[in-house]
């Protein structure tokens, strides 16, 4: 039972002498939608890359459903920025790559997601606007049927109407036995759908807390609580 979910044990990461993450320990069960908060450069992306095994040489242990070695990659869907694909490649070809590379990639789901986001898969990757590219990345990430979804600031370039639409439907695309970790600066828009918040400050974890508890015990919205906690420490 305890092995189900994401567990970070004293995770730290340094680049040369610069500490980027320091002693982060947390247990997050499956079935949660968690928002990762912190100011720019605090280590949100690095934490996601460490969890995905893209960053090497980190200290501590990252364990997902009891798997702590590189095999955990098969349980993680990370929102890659697709920078290594040529700009002339069509979206259908990118989808074909994902379909061949990931056994858990659901073609029907990606088509539903693209339809939902109004993205034509016949377009070339280079012809997409920033917002549409981000929507495409979200669709590819969520189209896998896996345990952990990592969305790294997925909505920064998406227009407000599409953002509302995507956020309100996030729950629908995530299975009950999966976990979604999303980093964002648009907290107020996500507030109604998230279960927990994980706050990073000064390269370490400041708080991991349930959203309902914050509302009931503190009488604050998540954004208010985030501001207050951040300034107090």
């Amino acid at each position: 039972m305890s092995a189900q979910g994401l567990e970070l044990q004293h995770v730290g990461y340094k680049k040369m002498t610069k500490v980027i993450l320091n002693d982060i320990s947390v247990k997050i069960p499956l079935g949660r939608l968690v928002v990762l908060l912190g100011e720019n450069g605090v280590g949100k992306t690095t934490l996601m890359r460490v969890i995905s095994d893209l960053n090497k040489g980190y200290q501590g242990k990252v364990c997902l459903n009891g798997v702590s070695d590189e095999r955990r990659k098969s349980l993680i869907s990370f929102s890659d920025n697709l920078s290594s694909f040529r700009s002339k490649i069509s979206l259908n070809d990118v989808i074909a790559f994902y379909q061949q590379g990931y056994p858990d990639f659901d073609l029907q789901r990606v088509n539903e997601l693209l339809n939902f986001m109004r993205i034509d898969p016949l377009q070339r990757l280079g012809s997409l606007s920033k917002g549409n590219r981000e929507k495409f990345v979200i669709a590819l990430t969520l189209a896998r049927r896996t345990r952990l979804y990592l969305l790294d600031e997925p909505l920064s370039g998406v227009d407000i109407f599409s953002r509302d639409k995507i956020i309100s439907s996030l729950v629908k695309w995530i299975d009950n036995d999966s976990l979604l970790l999303i980093s964002t600066h648009h907290l107020s828009e996500l507030e109604q759908v998230i279960d927990d918040v994980l706050i990073l400050k000064d390269q370490t974890m400041l708080e991991y807390r349930n959203v309902e508890d914050i509302r009931q015990q503190e009488g604050l919205s998540v954004e208010e609580y985030y501001r207050q906690t951040y300034l107090e420490h």
Partner: protein, 226 residues
Amino acid sequence: MGVAGLAISLFWPLGMLLKLGVNRSFWTSFAIGETVIAFILLGIGFICLFASINQVWLSNRFRLLPASTSQLYFSNLLMKTAGFLLIIGLLALIDFALSGLILRNWLMTPIEFQRAISKATFSMTDVMNVVVSFVDAMVSLIVELTFLLILTETLENFVAEKYQRLVGVVSFIVLLFLFSFVDEKISNLISNDIVSVTSVLFDAVVVILCIWASIYLLKNWVESRK
């Protein structure tokens, strides 16, 4: 690159024909030109091959795939090398066919050609030596250079970002020189023959060590770029 090679292989003789006409000097110039171009293309091909192999380690696209580091390493090297050999092989085949045609039809009479061919004798050992040398050289070259590039990427992690490119280039040159020097010295100590069981075994040991070290470095040190 394959298309460029094919185009040069086919259009080079046409260009020369226009310039020199069909005479003996045309065929000599053509043969020399083809050889030079073949070597240039081979050099460019090798640079592209290693750049392409190295790109995989640095790309999220491939590093995120649900495959172990060993699987990624072997599939990358095998597929990229197979693709390279296919293109080079096709070009070589076209060049050999053209050379054969030239020899047979223009530089020799058909009877001279038949005589030359019938006089050439190859023992099974000679053929085996050529095959073993080729495979040994190809595998050693690809595995060892890949290892040096991975080691260079690892070393780059230990310097500030603005110096990484400079350190990468310098350390690759230094490592290449050191590796070749030591490899050659030990190889000469073990055996003086280019193709002997001992020298092939030595190369095999070096290749296995390089594969092990490459996978270790990839698994623990080499990160994809953001």
